[in-house]
């Protein structure tokens, strides 16, 4: 087993865990955490492919990952903001109870 395959397996596991959390949990914040996990699994992949790829000296994967983290941070902020706004409105963070988000 090469180091790349090991990294990919770890990333796939993290992704699967994140997916499982976001599909099974009813708490909006936990779902957000699951989404973050999946994102980070993707980041792991980017880093792994860069580190064990053809041209590790070009820092391309690093750049991708940093962008992705920045975007994820913004996304988390938006997501949490939405959850807090919804919570203020209807005192719940239960996704199954959020039935009035239709445009």
């Amino acid at each position: 087993m090469t180091p790349l395959v090991g990294c990919l397996i770890v990333a796939a596991l993290v992704f699967a865990i994140g997916l499982a959390i976001s599909l099974t949990r009813r708490n909006a914040i936990l779902v957000l955490i699951g989404i973050e996990l999946m994102l980070n699994a993707a980041n792991l992949n980017l880093i792994a492919f860069w580190r064990f790829g053809a041209r590790p000296e070009l820092l391309t994967g690093m750049m991708f990952a940093i962008f992705s983290i920045a975007v994820a941070a913004a996304e988390a902020a938006v997501g949490l903001g939405l959850v807090i706004a919804y919570h203020r409105h209807s005192k719940t963070t239960d996704l199954d109870a959020m039935t009035r988000m239709k445009g």
């Binding site: 599909l23 779902v31 996704l95 959020m98 239709k102 445009g103």
Partner: protein
């Protein structure tokens, strides 16, 4: 425009050979009155426009506007007249023109303009003065008519058009105003359009004068084609100035006529239509269906004289090529037509019973005199009769209107009588008009003007025929006027028993009195002793000449003219006045003498019948043929085309509703369904979205694995 022409002025002045004709003032140096001369026709037209906007009950305002507008024109005309008079006394230029570009077509341009010369000045004063009196009279005559405002609108428009004819310096501008005048004549003849006879008379007048106008227009176009201008005077470049006339004379037309002669005849055809000359006279007697002031103003004093004025205006063209002792073909034609008209009108007037119809035929006859005067004696002779006739014929018509008014709208002279007692003021003024028209010697203007025409016709070198006809006409004139006044003012009252005639109000008799003064006094201007009128029109100095009567042949001629008038008056007296006419059933004295002749005259020599079996029948046949062509041939073609398109339309409609609409309907249904599915997907439930995302991930992973397995990159 003035600045524009100032540069051109220098060029013209260089080109003009000095001394060949009188210097004329060009635009840049136009005098004050010339600059505002256009206001004379413009003010009444503007007044007409304003009156047209008024409501029906605003009678006072409309009459005030019309009379005020014409008064302003009258004052301006007097200023213009005195200006010409002053220039004449000073020996300066008596003809002034102002021209301007009206229509530019590339390098060429069509010029219009207005002019002021003795001819125009005299006519301006006459038309505005007589018009003003008739306007005032109309306020009384039309007092009970509900369309009072409309009447004054038309009258005012007429005055504007007529004054435009007088000052036009371009045949085209003259023609435009000529048509305005024709239109208002039509509108006013048909003023009481609910009467079928009035509506028919209006149509007849319009169509008959249009026949002449077509020839007139042809003449204008021909003249424009030959000379490149329609201006009368343009500092040597006008269409009736020597340079253009030389060109016109050198152009042969057909039948030995030069272009000048042919154009002259065409223009005369227009004049004949307007002035009721044979054979286009038929409309004028019927025009008496209009209100009497209209008959006086338009169909006696002014509009019908426009034809005579037109001939006088283009006289240089008519007489081009004539030398002393000879005449031109145009003038010969005019003289014969005029003489025939004069005789015909007088003959027919003898046997009419409608008071206005007698005067109408008398007008036809007198217009013939004017034409003969123009053709044989020159502009001054014809125009003098025009002016004097305008006054006494307006007087007669207004008098007839007063009689009709007083007799409760009765127009048949057989049912009048004894009005000299009931309507003394009307009677006296009417007698003045009657004696002036008959040519009663010395004291009445008609005598002097008619005598001048008779003298000119007598010395005409071509033929004695017109002179003889005019003398017979003069006799008949005195005769039929005596007959008329015998019926109207003498004898016994023959109207309905209980009623009696009443004198008209002052607003009607006042104008009569003023006109009567002029019907007498105007003769002073044209006696052989002091030929002021001739001198003024021809811009020659005039002196009192005690030897005026000593010209050879003048006194015998005058004596025979007087004798003829007295014979006519005596005949009339013997037949109609000697024994008072008692009953309206009584046969006419002349009819009992010779019923055949009477019938011919009473039926207007069967002119209308002749036209109805020839021209009218021809037109009816043509109209029937056109109708047939239109219905069967063109109509068939058009309806078959229409049918084709209807078929095509029906096919298209089927295509549209079955196929295209169906397609659209289906598409829309699909859109609705898919929209429903998508809306169900977007239910607003976050877990649902997440689930779909999970499914998506699995599907993507599945695809990746599958593609990898197929390409061999993944070994399962």
């Amino acid at each position: 425009m003035i600045a524009n022409n100032a540069s051109l002025m220098a060029n013209w002045l260089v080109q003009v050979p000095v001394g060949e004709f009188k210097p004329e003032i060009v635009d840049g140096a136009a005098s004050a009155i010339m600059r505002i001369l256009w206001l004379i026709p413009a003010i009444p037209m503007f007044a007409a426009g304003l009156i047209a906007l008024l409501k029906q009950p605003m009678r006072k305002t409309s009459a005030t506007l019309a009379i005020g507008g014409l008064s302003a024109s009258f004052v301006l005309s007097l200023i213009a007249f005195s200006h010409v008079l002053a220039e004449w006394h000073r020996g300066g230029a008596t003809r002034e023109v102002v021209n301007f570009d009206w229509l530019s077509l590339g390098a060429a341009s069509l010029q219009l303009g207005w002019l002021l010369d003795p001819l125009a000045a005299v006519m301006l004063v006459m038309v505005t003065f007589v018009g003003l009196l008739i306007f005032i009279y109309s306020t009384g005559y039309m007092a009970h008519d509900e369309n009072f405002t409309r009447f004054f609108c038309f009258l005012s428009l007429f005055a504007g058009g007529m004054l435009g004819v007088l000052i036009a310096n371009s045949l085209l501008l003259l023609f435009m105003c000529w048509e305005i005048v024709g239109l208002t004549s039509y509108l006013l003849i048909g003023f009481w359009y609910h009467k079928p006879s009035a509506a028919a008379a209006a149509k007849k007048a319009f169509l008959t004068t249009r026949v002449g106008d077509i020839f007139f227009l042809l003449g204008i176009v021909w003249l424009f084609a030959q000379t490149g201008t329609t201006l009368f005077y343009n500092n040597g470049a006008g269409a009736i100035e020597p340079a253009a006339l030389t060109t016109l004379l050198s152009q042969p037309a057909a039948w030995g006529l030069s272009a000048a002669g042919a154009i002259g005849l065409l223009i005369f055809a227009g004049a004949a239509g307007k002035s009721g000359q044979l054979p286009l006279h038929v409309w004028l007697p019927d025009a008496m269906e209009g209100p009497t002031p209209v008959s006086a103003l338009i169909h006696a004093a002014t509009m019908v004289a426009a034809g005579v004025y037109l001939v006088a205006r283009v006289y240089p063209l008519m007489s081009a090529g004539a030398s002393i002792g000879t005449t031109t073909i145009s003038l010969t034609v005019i003289a014969w037509v005029g003489a025939l008209t004069a005789l015909f009108g007088a003959l027919v007037a003898v046997a009419q019973n409608d008071i206005k119809r007698i005067l109408a035929y008398s007008t036809v006859s007198q217009l013939g005199y004017m034409m003969v005067g123009l053709a044989t004696g020159g502009v001054a002779v014809g125009m003098f009769h025009l002016i004097t006739h305008a006054f006494f014929k307006a007087l007669l018509f207004l008098g007839a209107g007063s009689v009709i008014h007083g007799c409760h709208e009765e127009q048949d002279i057989r049912r009048m009588g004894r009005l000299r007692i009931d309507m003394p003021l009307t009677f006296m003024t009417y007698m003045v008009g009657m004696l002036a028209l008959s040519g009663f010697p010395i004291f009445f203007s008609g005598f002097w003007s008619k005598d001048a025409i008779l003298g000119a016709a007598h010395s005409w070198p071509v033929s004695r025929g017109p002179f003889v006809m005019l003398v017979v006409g003069a006799l008949l004139t005195a005769f039929y006027m005596t007959r008329q006044i015998s019926y109207v003012f003498f004898g016994h009252w023959r109207g309905p028993k209980q009623t009696h005639a009443h004198e008209s109000p002052l607003v009607m008799t006042g104008p009569l009195a003023i006109l009567a003064v002029f019907a007498i006094g105007l003769g002073v201007l044209g006696t052989p002793l002091w030929p002021w009128f001739t001198g003024f029109l021809e811009s020659r100095p005039v002196a009192f000449d005690a030897h005026g009567f000593s010209e050879p042949g003048l006194l015998p001629l005058m004596g025979s003219a007087i004798a003829v008038v007295f014979v006519g008056l005596l005949l009339g007296w013997a037949l109609y006045m000697r024994k008072p006419i008692v009953s309206d059933e009584k046969q006419d004295s002349l009819e009992s003498v010779s019923p055949t002749v009477w019938n011919w005259f009473a039926n207007r020599l069967y002119f209308d019948e002749l036209y109805s079996v020839t021209v009218i029948r021809l037109y009816a046949a043509l109209a029937w043929f056109s109708d047939w062509l239109d219905r069967r041939v063109w109509g068939g073609a058009v309806s078959s085309v229409a049918l084709t398109f209807r078929g095509l339309g029906w096919f298209n409609k089927g295509l549209d509703s079955q196929w295209i609409d169906g397609g659209f309907d289906k598409g829309c249904e699909e859109l609705v369904t898919s929209g429903g599915v998508l809306a169900w997907l977007q239910a607003g439930r976050a877990p649902g979205y997440l689930r779909m995302m999970g499914i998506g991930v699995l599907v993507l992973a599945g695809i990746a694995l599958l593609v990898g397995a197929v390409t061999g990159q993944v070994r399962l």
